[in-house]
Subunit: 134 residues, 4 copies
């Protein structure tokens, strides 16, 4: 890093991060504190909440063919529902990571490295079976 | 930030985002392309994969009391398992958003605004019931 | 039915039931008691366990096309895995019903009647959309 | 079977079964056929539907303490919601088994035997950890 980059360390760091969820983490914390909902946000409860939201996402897609699932955003109401459920999953995931003091950027970096070792390109290329047999 | 920060607009933007998952999104796309796995990543399939990972998270916490769930990171092996599952959920969520062309930052911003309206502080403070009755 | 059927009331009742899970319920109760696992079987925990098993089922099917999902039993190992996961979901479901004192036969009978009213044949015939919009 | 048991064969068989879901299976099949919904009931889709219903069950319990989860039936509206979700999970499970031609009674019998071997009473008595480490 050149000396001229003094003060822009944030930009450099952000550029290197896989994910930066700090803004959402703070916003959710303020939201929860204002409502005194910390008491309900045990990791166990948040896992259930995340599971529930994943289930709602599932319900949107359950009767769609794979092909139709690609076009789910064409209907504006469904598109909004999908965005809302993705947001709900992400909000609970970020909240869960905060409560458990898990650094999501470190977690995904570690997982991607492990996945790269587990699924060598030459062995799994084009094979769903290999992907499934984890 | 000094006026000499021209070119560090990324930092400014990052500072305003609730989430920035662009690094992970690119990394996952490279990973998937190299293995020719795009063909399996229909939105429908990715929703199932996300649900499966949420289920694995659930299994870690299912027999723990809420109190014990707070201390789940004390056992190093369990802590690693939790980080891995959180990473898996996030990886599939980010992949799903990419495939559906959903901007997760916009999605969570919209959802947080809706939640703030839905759960006015003065009406829901300290009440799990209100939170549940969504 | 003739009057000579006295004593075969069990058969009559079984014939009219939609589901009879009493044998499994007793077997699971013996299994749990012998291991002193009642203490872990709160409804909340059992819901998480059921969710976890549903997630494992999801993982088996996530990369399969719908067409391939019909043929999942052709591979003996996968067929065994599917049967095991279906069994796990059913075991936790029956245990949950027992702990909550829910009569599953009454529950499904009530639900089927409600579904019949909710989805009149003439209005929903052949339409996944109607089925989805519950 | 001796001739003296004529007419009570159903009772004998029922007495030996762990689960008998044949009534529900037939009722659901009629329901589905009448609506021409077979086309949507691929195993893959049914797994997603089951997962979605498990998620709804999760949402009912997510903010409850374990203790409160035992008393969930005290509030009539919540009790009805719980029964409905249990029914939905069971209906999709039975439908999935039918479509996959899985005998649920055989599946749970096999699984219970495997569980008995996997968790010997003397080794796991009173331990959630052993139960978790499957």
């Amino acid at each position: 890093m050149s000396t001229s980059s003094a003060g822009s360390g944030g930009a450099d760091r952000a550029a290197q991060l896989l994910v930066d969820v700090s803004g959402l983490q703070s916003a959710v914390e303020r939201f929860v504190r204002a409502r005194d909902w910390d008491q309900f946000h045990s990791p166990k409860n948040l896992v259930m909440a995340l599971t529930g939201e994943a289930g709602e996402l599932s319900e949107i897609f359950q009767w769609l063919t794979e092909e139709a699932s690609h076009a789910v955003a064409r209907d504006p109401a469904t598109a909004r529902a999908v965005r809302d459920e993705l947001a709900d999953v992400l909000i609970y995931l970020v909240r869960l990571a905060a409560v458990l003091d898990v650094d999501l950027d470190e977690a995904v970096a570690t997982k991607l490295r492990a996945n790269a070792q587990r699924y060598p390109v030459e062995q799994v290329r084009g094979s769903a079976r290999k992907q499934r047999e984890r």
